[in-house]
């Protein structure tokens, strides 16, 4: 039972390691399975190690353990006492004996819920219900389980009785019972499907979304995208938050050494080495928010502000024909609201790269220093106006690096009014930025070179 449960947990995105499943086994032996609440608490401590995981664990636990406990035959069972199967009355309630059909009949007759439950569970295990993957398999698995528990003999029984007038009422009762039995089996299969495949569809969707061009993402997927960005941001944060200080080997920190060795009467026992304090990067993001680029800008900004733990200082600017700072907007309100507001304020008009870049230089030129990464998102289509490459050159000279992100595919660069050649020459790096995967790589890159 436990391996199945762990499989279900993994299917619903709770990461369970082998060591943890061994722990869970130990928990099971100490706690026992009589008290379900206790079991839930204990297993949740051994298996789910986070707030989100706990929530998913609770859901999974409820579905999994309810499935095994309550066949719903119990509730709408019709009194069965009048039924008389004298010919086949046997008291064995052994699960899955050689004569499954007869067992099933006797179980139905005696209304033995526990036995029925065991029978169903054993049958589900026999047909390996936990391997169910897609919804079209429902019918197959249902049929297999029903065969396993010996529905055939019930059918046969029904067939014989139907010709007999006397047993008419018994016949209908048995028929009803059979119907509800089938319903039970359908429920079990349905729940397994829910349990073991709940997330595979979601995972697939997320995988596809990561590869889809950002400009083509539909409004209905925004919610998923947001979760996805948060997830990726969390991943990046945990990767990059580690290397904060690095010992500079070979450089003695004399002051610190003397201070530390006061406790040993000034005898130099412990040496302290100089360390490099690693600065968090400063990022200045400049986003073109006109037309199709605005979609990409939305996710870039969303991403940047999601990783505030590793990139705490982000100043963002938006422009089309005029440039304005939107840092405050994104810090104070949610990404959706901030972006809508940004586009309303700065999004109308045709793009003017020359104006925007020199305005950026005027506004924050003095702040750009050797720690600043300047991130520019735009298609570099200047409408045959000033490309602003001179201003960008000056910015580049001051900044640590300038990265240009272009949402157009490479083959479109330098066609028509695209000034990628001129502008790209003033950048340290030029990257296409079309999908979430690209974004992740870029942000990770910024965080990495910061250390």
């Amino acid at each position: 039972m436990l391996p199945d449960f762990i499989k279900a947990l993994r299917a619903s995105n709770v990461a369970v390691s082998t060591a943890e499943s061994i722990d869970a086994n130990k928990v099971l032996t100490t706690i026992g399975i009589e008290n379900k609440l206790l079991l839930k608490y204990s297993l949740s401590m051994a298996l789910a190690k986070g707030i989100d995981d706990k929530k998913r664990f609770d859901e999974c636990f409820d579905v999994f353990f309810n499935q095994n406990t309550q066949p719903h035959l119990i509730t709408n069972a019709v009194p069965l006492l009048s039924l008389e199967f004298t010919d086949e009355s046997r008291n064995t309630t052994d699960t899955l004996g050689s004569s499954e059909g007869e067992t099933l009949l006797s179980i139905l007759k005696t209304e033995d819920k526990v036995a029925l439950q065991q029978l169903l569970a054993a049958a589900a295990q026999d047909v390996q219900l936990q391997n169910i993957r897609i919804f079209t398999q429902r019918g197959v698995y249902m049929r297999r389980i029903l065969e396993k528990i010996g529905i055939d003999s019930v059918d046969e029984h029904l067939y014989q009785r139907s010709s007999d007038d006397q047993e008419k009422s018994n016949f209908t009762t048995l028929k009803n019972l059979k119907a509800s039995l089938i319903e039970d089996v359908a429920n079990i299969v349905e729940k397994s499907l829910l349990l073991y495949t709940a997330n595979s569809a979601n995972n697939l969707r997320e995988e596809i979304l990561q590869k889809t061009a950002l400009a083509r993402i539909e409004v209905r997927d925004f919610k998923v995208m947001k979760q996805l960005v948060t997830k990726l941001a969390k991943k990046l944060t945990s990767i990059h938050s580690r290397r904060r200080r690095r010992a500079k080997r070979g450089h003695l920190d004399v002051r610190q050494t003397i201070r530390k060795n006061i406790q040993y009467d000034g005898v130099m026992f412990d040496t302290v080495w100089k360390r490099i304090q690693i600065d968090r990067p400063k990022v200045i993001a400049l986003c073109d928010v006109s037309g199709s680029v605005s979609q990409v800008a939305r996710f870039l900004l969303l991403f940047l502000y999601s990783v505030s733990e590793i990139i705490p200082k982000v100043r963002s600017f938006a422009f089309s024909n005029y440039l304005g700072e939107v840092t405050g907007l994104f810090e104070s309100s949610s990404a959706e609201v901030a972006l809508a507001e940004t586009i309303r304020l700065w999004g109308s008009g045709s793009t003017d790269y020359g104006g925007a870049l020199s305005e950026l230089e005027r506004l924050v030129g003095d702040e750009i220093d050797h720690r600043t990464t300047v991130l520019i998102l735009g298609d570099a289509r200047s409408n045959y106006g000033d490309s602003g490459h001179l201003a960008l050159r000056r910015i580049h000279n001051r900044a640590k690096r300038v990265i240009w992100l272009n949402p157009e595919p490479r083959s479109f660069w330098n066609t028509g009014d695209s000034e990628m050649k001129k502008l790209g020459a003033c950048c340290d790096k030029v990257d296409p930025c079309r999908t979430l995967n690209h974004l992740e790589r870029i942000i990770s890159d910024i965080a990495r070179t910061a250390t």
Partner: protein
């Protein structure tokens, strides 16, 4: 341990809960279960939850319950082995060498050449790097404690990643290697609590070695019970109102929502002021005990009257 296995686990958990209550700690079923499992499986517990819900208190209450000493290690950035595990008593070592200097000629008496002298010195072994010269820090202290101890590693999320990795050996095997002495193994494994406020994600390796307990804000009933046990002087009507008020406050959009410790502080203040029931004016003047940000106080102030009215109505 032998006692535990005789009784059924359910009973043990129930009695644990009662005993904790006697010590002034109102535990939920989850908390008591965690405590039981930690002892039965000999595993550390990692406790997470918002600040002020009684994570540290649990360790203190447990040490009282088990009648074992509480050894506390407060984590902070830059915490390293010498502060957490052990240190050599350099001063003492120096002093002893000075004292022994004069005796040195006696000891080396009869040595004809340097080789013999060195051999003689070798016979004394590494006295200066023996247990007598070790200054145990919390972790080593907990391992040395013969009858076991309660080890509280507080706010593990504040420590560095390296320190977290360093803890792994202790948490898994309850042993630690000191190069000069060898491996120190705990005779009786201590009960270990780690607490975290979630300021950073704890590594998976550490999580895997621990039982994970999440303590959320208490529910209505539980909070009232906690207040009543902690502050017996508080009139019952008032305690109900206090809990109602705080619970409704938690639903507001605040920078930092009040936790149990703040509720308790406030309730204590109200008893000191001899209040018998909540008045909007009284609440306003004592709001700074509950809310720790000026923004929050300003945000809540206009709603105090309505909140108080509801709190009184519901009680």
């Amino acid at each position: 341990m032998s006692q535990i296995s005789k009784l059924s686990s359910e009973e043990v958990i129930r009695t644990t809960r009662k005993k904790l209550e006697k010590n002034g700690y109102i535990a939920t079923g989850q908390i008591a279960t965690a405590l039981y499992l930690a002892q039965a499986l000999v595993k550390p517990i990692l406790i997470e939850g918002p600040p002020g819900v009684g994570k540290t208190e649990l360790a203190i209450a447990t040490s009282k319950l088990l009648d074992k000493p509480l050894i506390r290690l407060q984590c902070y950035e830059g915490l390293d082995e010498s502060k957490a595990l052990y240190e050599w008593k350099y001063g003492k070592q120096l002093l002893y060498t000075q004292v022994l200097k004069e005796k040195l000629s006696d000891m080396l008496d009869g040595a004809r050449d340097l080789t013999q002298a060195v051999d003689k010195l070798h016979a004394f072994d590494d006295i200066f790097f023996s247990e007598a010269f070790v200054e145990p820090r919390p972790l080593l202290k907990a391992l040395w404690e013969k009858n076991g101890a309660v080890l509280l590693i507080d706010e593990i999320d504040k420590s560095d990643q390296e320190f977290e990795a360093f803890l792994l050996e202790i948490l898994q095997d309850y042993q630690i290697s000191i190069p000069e002495i060898g491996t120190v193994r705990a005779k009786t494994p201590p009960v270990v609590f780690l607490t975290s406020n979630n300021t950073r994600e704890i590594g998976d390796a550490l999580k895997r070695r621990c039982l994970h307990l999440y303590i959320p804000f208490p529910e209505h009933k539980l909070e009232q019970k906690i207040i009543e046990t902690q502050i017996p002087d508080l009139p019952q009507a008032l305690s109900k109102q206090v809990v109602n008020f705080v619970q409704s406050l938690r639903k507001l959009d605040l920078k930092k929502v009040p936790s149990i410790s703040e509720t308790l502080d406030w309730a204590r203040a109200l008893t000191l002021l001899n209040a018998t029931d909540l008045q909007p004016q009284l609440v306003r003047s004592t709001l700074n005990l509950l809310l720790k940000f000026q923004d929050d106080i300003e945000h809540t102030n206009p709603e105090v009257t309505a909140l108080v009215r509801n709190a009184i109505k519901d009680s």
